[in-house]
Amino acid sequence: MSLLEVKEITHSYGASRSFWRKKEVKPVLSSVSLAIEEGTCLGLLGSSGAGKSTLGKVILGLEKPQQGQVIFQGQDVYAMDAKSRQQMRRNLQVVFQDSYSSVNPRLTAEKIIAEPLENYEKLSAGEQSRAIASLLEQVGLSSSDMKKYPREFSGGQLQRINIARALALKPKMIVLDESVSSLDMVTQTTILELLQDLKTRYGLSYLFITHDIRAAYAISDAMAIMHKGQIAEVFQDKDAVFTSQQPAVKNLVDAMLPEHPRYRNAAAPTEAKKLFSR
């Protein structure tokens, strides 16, 4: 059985524009189904407005879908009792894109990471600070960073703190919603390596939401492409993304920027591929 199963999710946002006008309904997800196996990473790709983040929220239990089910560890996320819900929250963590707005600017790194621990584990003061120090070290920071405030960290460092917080309760799965998109390339690569390393070490599963094929390719085991609220195609073999004939997938692949100046313009990879296969 898969760790997470998303079954036929349909969701829309409604906006009643004014009192006498008809309610305008904007469909965002239409019968989306996905599955994530334990210990694997699924890359969820799509251009902006495709519904990636909404799906992420639905999976996290933050946005109740109008139709469909989210099954996490065999239980329906939206139909569980308070106790299993609490357990679910513990096993399913999230890291968002904007590291600065994901933390309270008035708390030190120690307090930020301590929050989930205080809520779920009854640790003594000494144990807790040891746990936090080890978490910081796992994400490549040092325990001396504990007393620092968010503004004293760079974006990449703060994202590590967000990851440390997500790891604090040893979750089964982490939803990474554009978690590396705002970081520069060198930092991006080191964070991706860190995530990869943590995944093998703890058998974590990821849902990696992004619009960047490169980043998704680097970390994912399987990839799913979303387009206008639907899953355009799922690839168990991620290399198959580049040869797909599905128009939404092709669009994304074609828009990839070249790796080397020699390939610019004519460098739309699928174009080149086409020539090559001929």
């Binding site: 994304l252 828009a255 790796e259």
Partner: protein, 275 residues
């Protein structure tokens, strides 16, 4: 090459932040040359001084908090230390600026048309009607659909990619000699990124604009830049022609940057194809 005079020449630019403990150097000995129709890429990790350099070129740094030394010459005219009023006439007219986040670059309470026309009329003697016509023409050239309708919209009604194209249209309408594009595609999604870069490419071929392209994304640099300067800790550590830089990086830091790219599976087949 030498027949083309430099549009913008930066010599020995030093920037330091004034603090209670004395001046804290941010940028040291930066020399840059921009030639018409050419794109100079400026890369480096966050915090390396790319943005502060571009702000200094525009004279947007607060004189009370920052020390800017060195020469910044636009068509031989010294910009560093120029009076505020004279500088204001140059910004936008002579030096266009495209910012990273198009969502924050517009005033939310005025329509696109309103802001577009205001910019045009500040810098030219055009009447309102002519300004509107110019605005619509520039929006059209940016491949934006129904420009007349677009003029009546507010910034929040447009997507990031569209706003970024509007911003380029505004800079383009005044035919500036230099455009500074600071991470123009970072806030956009992949499909819009390529489009915006193509529009910038058109701007330099059609108007002969010199572009300073600041980015940490090597994909953006490979797509557009002719020459690349690598910045690290406030200094330019390497500068070379773009293919040279990618093929034969000299500095350790450049090598590290180039290695940071995730490698794609089809690179091999492409290599055999293109060469």
């Amino acid at each position: 090459m030498h027949t083309q005079p430099n549009v913008l020449q930066v010599d020995n630019l030093n920037i330091a932040a004034k603090s209670s403990r004395g001046a804290l150097p941010l940028v040291r000995n930066v020399n840059l040359e921009l030639t018409p129709g050419k794109v100079l890429g400026l890369i480096g990790e966050s915090g390396s001084g790319k943005t502060v350099t571009s702000m200094a070129l525009m004279q947007l740094l607060d004189q009370r908090a920052m020390q800017v030394q060195g020469n910044i010459q636009l068509h031989g005219q010294e910009l560093n230390g120029m009076p505020t009023k004279a500088m204001r006439a140059i910004r936008g007219k002579e030096i266009g600026f495209i910012m990273q986040n198009p969502m924050n670059a517009f005033t939310p309470v005025y329509t696109i048309g309103n802001q577009f026309v205001e910019t045009i009329r500040t810098h030219t003697g055009l009447g309102k009607k002519q300004a509107v016509e110019l605005a619509i023409a520039s929006l059209e050239s940016m491949n934006l659909e129904e420009p007349a309708k677009l003029m009546k919209k507010y910034p929040f009604q447009l997507s990031g990619g569209m706003l970024q194209r509007v911003m380029i249209a505004i800079s383009m309408s005044l035919r500036p000699a230099v455009v500074i594009a600071d991470e123009p595609t970072t806030a956009l999604d992949v499909t819009n990124q390529l489009q915006v870069l193509k529009e910038l490419d058109r701007l330099r071929t059609e108007c002969g604009t010199a572009i300073l392209l600041i980015s940490h994304d090597l994909g953006v640099i490979s797509q557009l830049a002719d020459e690349v300067a690598v910045m690290r800790r406030g200094e330019i550590v390497e500068q070379a022609e773009v293919c040279d830089l990618f093929d034969r990086p000299q500095h350790e830091y450049t090598k590290k940057l180039l290695q940071a790219r995730p490698v794609m599976p089809f690179t091999d087949s492409l290599n055999r194809l293109v060469i």
